[in-house]
């Protein structure tokens, strides 16, 4: 692991003095001049590599040394190739260095030198020329038959295709497509290397070619694939592996190559491919007449069909069983890809995909193979008029419900959802309904998947799901705790009380609470927005409040709530918004008891309550009954300060005829009386035992709200004034039981005095406390009839004329 020794090596490498470094350079240069490059050279090169790579600042080598190291690239010892390539990758290219190299035969270049060339490419043009030369090498060397040194060519081409598809031309695509067909479909079917079927007496000369075998040991009867084994492999078999490994990306990306640089005969429909191939499997003569790209598609199709069939064989080794799964994923993805390009293949492919789904769907250990199958159904199910119901039941049902703790599946499932969001929303009604299930992934591993949910959540918010989704998000920490309990309950026998016994685990197992937990664990939306006995559930889960998984989950909820509210504004009507306000008021006291969590949620509620009411002021009149009930409960001042303050502010601000004509004097008076009672109560006695003093902000907000209401109904003015003057008298003594901080008290009294003086002139008070919209949203600069713009224009013309 990482020791003090390693740390001191890195420090030394970073802090090496220039003089010392120069000495080291010259010593190394001398070493490299010698004929024999021994251990010391290798060691020094390795040290040089450490010095160069330990810092992010680039060091420049003396040109002589750099040249010497450069020449090691073509050394016969691989170790020196590796080291020189690594060292040079950490330095800047010598001017002219790569040019020199390009003139040599690139196809003779070893893999390590190629890696250097690739990493130091400075432009697309560099990549284009490298590409052209590699392909020339690929073309020219086919007769020599030494493919082994070619293996690195395919990955390099694939890399260039990834970074800069424009660097390939249509001709390159044609050439490489042909090559891939050969390697994929016509690799030798006898074992390479030292394979021998002979007994003790058979000499090397009488060796018979041994056919390749399947993973279960039987002799292979068809063409070679990556799932074939032998004692050794021929070079074209290696190329088969490399070709298949890059095939999917090739099929995905070859469209993006530049079309400009084509020679005349790209549409060589009539061409008969004449490459030297082994012809074991009967190839349809028609496919030989296809143009290269289509021919490659056909061969890819056959290869994948064969892989799918081979994956059903019982492999002896674990590594091969894993490989079979990876091959299934790749095969299905490739089939999907070729069907995208050529819809006629859909009908040929579906039977095989369907059979594969039938074979695997009951075994969840194949879940990650089933995802690409689902992708296939999503892309092509409509074309083939196939029923996809069972696929979606699996993807949105059993996967999240039973495999929520598989990180990789969660990542892949969410990636699948993100990438197909539009078509899922359009074609798969299961999607939105399944949010209680999908959120299990978030509840289990919040930090890893929250990013995906940031993208996905808006698509789950509809007018039909909004209320239930809000409740579900608020109870996400409970879901997290329940998932922990579910797993523990499954792996611990009931009698086991080892370690500290969990009360919540007993509750989870108890039939009397079964319904509560089952509701949290439901797979689909629609069985009700929430449950009655939430507070019981929260009590049962109280001990989970400090479980790390639950805490991590609780930390992500505020972020998602913000996204929820931002989205809901775009889909909701007034009725739904009113409902959401009620949910906020109700849920502000019904949350799992994690102090920080409650505080954060209150903050989010406050922020969005304000935004909702600002956008739809008539909501305040609509919901005045509930808002008044909430603001009339003195206890809320202490336990939900943030929400309470905002509710009071909203009442004071928007309970006005100018916002909603239904706002009657009676309503204003009743609101006034409610708030007045609370303000009186909290400023006349000490806080209840256990509670802190009311926040000064609550007191001033209450006072302002009362003043605002009074300014709209002048009968109320004497009552506020009386209260404010009383407040002044009471506090003259210095300390009061409801406010211990002197500065706070001064601020409160000052606010009271301001409001009192304002209310002395009711007309002024009204225009200050309930300003008409043209004051709050001034548009003078736009109104041509008012004087200011006219004067400004006159002044401007005066100044400009000078």
């Amino acid at each position: 692991m990482y020791s003090h020794g390693s740390e001191s090596l890195i420090k030394q490498a970073r802090e090496i003095q220039d003089s010392e470094l120069q000495k080291f350079y010259s010593r190394l240069t001398k070493l490299l001049q010698g004929k024999e490059l021994g251990h010391e050279t290798v060691d020094s090169l390795q040290r040089l590599l450490l010095i160069l790579s330990a810092t992010k600042y680039t060091k420049t080598l003396p040109p002589e040394l750099q040249k010497r190291i450069f020449s090691l690239l073509s050394s016969s010892a691989e170790q020196l190739q590796v080291l020189s390539s690594a060292v040079l990758r950490e330095t800047l290219p010598l001017s002219g260095q790569d040019v020199n190299y390009n003139k040599e035969n690139v196809s003779l270049m070893n893999s390590h030198a190629a890696a250097l060339l690739l990493s130091q490419a400075g432009s697309r043009a560099d990549l284009s020329s490298l590409c052209a030369q590699l392909l020339r090498g690929l073309d020219g060397r086919q007769l020599e038959g030494s493919a082994h040194s070619l293996t690195h060519t395919l990955p390099i081409l694939n890399t260039i295709l990834t970074h800069s598809p424009e660097s390939l031309t249509e001709d390159h695509v044609t050439l490489l497509s042909k090559k891939l067909v050969d390697w994929l479909r016509y690799a030798s079917i006898t074992q390479g290397g030292g394979a021998s079927s002979g007994g003790f007496f058979t000499g090397p000369r009488s060796r018979q070619p041994v056919p390749i075998a399947e993973l279960d040991g039987t002799v292979s009867g068809d063409f070679f694939t990556v799932l074939c084994v032998g004692q050794g492999f021929t070079e074209d078999q290696w190329m088969n592996v490399y070709s298949f490994s890059m095939l999917r990306h090739w099929l995905l990306a070859y469209h993006s190559v530049s079309n400009g640089n084509t020679t005349a005969e790209t549409d060589d429909r009539s061409e008969v491919d004449g490459s030297v191939v082994s012809m074991v499997s009967a190839t349809s003569s028609s496919s030989r007449l296809l143009p290269p790209k289509e021919r490659l598609r056909e061969k890819a199709f056959q290869y994948c069909q064969r892989l799918i069939e081979q994956s059903d064989r019982k492999a002896h080794k674990r590594i091969d069983t894993d490989l079979q799964k990876a091959c299934l994923v790749e095969a299905v993805c490739i089939l999907d890809c070729v069907c995208e390009e050529d819809t006629s293949l859909v009908f040929r492919t579906f039977p095989c995909i369907k059979a594969l789904f039938g074979r695997l769907s009951s075994d969840l250990s194949f879940a990650r193979v089933l995802l690409p199958i689902a992708q296939f159904y999503l892309h092509h199910g409509e074309t083939a008029a196939v029923d996809c119901e069972s696929v979606w039941n699996l993807v949105f049902g059993r996967f999240p419900a039973e495999l929520f703790n598989d990180h990789f599946l969660a990542h892949e499932l969410l990636r699948f959802l993100r990438q197909n969001l539009e078509s899922l929303q359009l074609r798969v009604p299961h999607y939105t309904r399944s949010f209680p299930n999908l959120l299990k992934l978030l509840a289990w591993d919040s930090p890893a998947v929250v990013d995906d949910f940031v993208d996905l959540l808006p698509s789950l918010v509809t007018s039909g799901t909004a209320v239930e989704l809000l409740h579900t998000l608020l109870d996400l920490p409970c879901l997290s705790a329940t998932l922990v309990l579910q797993l523990r309950s499954a792996c611990l026998p009931i009698s086991d009380t080892g370690g500290r016994p969990l009360l919540s685990l007993d509750a989870f197992r108890s039939p009397s609470y079964r319904g509560l937990f089952l509701f949290l664990l439901r797979g689909e939306a629609g069985s009700g927005d929430t449950i009655d006995r939430l507070s019981t559930l929260h009590e049962l889960l109280a001990e989970a409040a400090d479980w790390p998984r639950v805490v991590q989950c609780a930390q992500t909820v505020p972020v998602l709530l913000h996204i929820f509210f931002n989205t809901v504004l775009t889909v909701a009507d007034d009725k739904l918004l009113a409902h959401l306000i009620l949910v906020m008021l109700e849920r502000s006291s019904l949350l799992l008891n994690i102090p920080k969590y409650i505080q954060e949620i209150h903050r989010v509620f406050s922020c969005h309550l304000l935004r909702l009411c600002k956008l739809h002021p008539s909501l305040v009149v609509d919901q005045s009954h509930e808002l008044l009930e909430f603001s009339g409960a003195t206890a809320n001042v202490y336990s939900k300060e943030d929400v309470y303050t905002h509710v009071v502010w909203v009442l004071g601000e928007y309970l006005s005829v100018s916002c909603d004509s239904r706002c009657s004097v009676r309503l204003i008076t009743s609101c006034f009386e409610t708030l007045e009672a609370v303000l009186f109560e909290i400023t006349s006695s000490a806080p209840p035992p256990g509670a802190l003093c009311p926040a000064p902000r609550v007191v001033t907000t209450l006072m302002s709200a009362l003043a605002k209401l009074a300014s709209r109904s002048h009968d109320l003015i004497p009552r506020v004034s009386l209260f404010l003057s009383k407040l002044k008298t009471v506090t003259r003594g210095g300390s009061v039981p409801w406010c211990t901080d002197e500065e706070d008290l001064v601020a409160i009294v000052t606010r009271g005095e301001e409001l009192w003086s304002l209310l002395k002139a009711p007309g002024v008070a009204q225009s200050v406390l309930t300003p008409p919209p043209h004051v709050t949203m001034p548009q003078w600069h736009r109104d041509t009839n008012v004087a200011t713009p006219l004067r400004l224009r006159a002044l401007t013309s005066l100044t400009q004329s000078q």
């Binding site: 692991m1 990482y2 020791s3 003090h4 020794g5 390693s6 740390e7 090596l9 890195i10 390795q46 040290r47 590599l49 992010k56 691989e78 170790q79 590796v82 690594a86 800047l92 290219p93 893999s111 890696a115 690739l118 990493s119 130091q120 490419a121 400075g122 697309r124 560099d126 990549l127 690195h152 694939n158 890399t159 260039i160 970074h163 990556v226 074939c228 084994v229 004692q231 492999f233 592996v241 490994s245 999917r248 990306h249 995905l252 080794k317 590594i319 490989l323 990876a326 994923v329 790749e330 990650r368 990180h407 990789f408 990542h411 892949e412 591993d445 930090p447 890893a448 995906d452 790390p548």
Partner: protein
Amino acid sequence: MVRCFLIHTVCPVSALGPGESRVLYSRVFGPDESIVSEQNRGLNPEERRLLQKEKVAVVARQVRSAVSLSREASGRPLVETVPGEEALALQEADSGVVRLRAGDPFNEEMSALWLGVQSLGFTLVCESYENLLLAEGTLRNLTRHCLEHLHMLGQGSEVLLRSSRVDTLLSRLLPHGQLLFLNHRFAQSLEKEVAAYMAK
């Protein structure tokens, strides 16, 4: 394709101050992505190298926090292993995957697969379309070889002083960032080559 492979510290170790971490090995495959991006085309080679190092550091940081959050959530105690117990260390390793959004730090979206072996993380950054089942197998295989050939469970510093061994491993098992479908026979024949190289 795989964009880069790195070995870095993932939790506080005694050799480092709190909050410090080190990238012990990193290999970025292919050309630098900034030469084809509109935004960074004007960079000179030195700036490109700096940007690339910073990108690697971003990945290391993201993985580091993913590992520590994942370990905290699972609550499993770390199993200490000694040289010779590479298989056990690998079996006990935590693993996971981090989504790297487009632009943070690579131009396109990537998936960073990580394997946490005690205080060290082994990370593969793959293109988002990549076959993660295959990538996972490759990462495990690479990690096992690194642990064995560089004696990483011990106190030595071979990962720094013999880093070319990792280069060689990568050139066989992940040539130029290409994930390979290798059955056990192919894998064996590559391992033979690797073993022969290491024996020198």
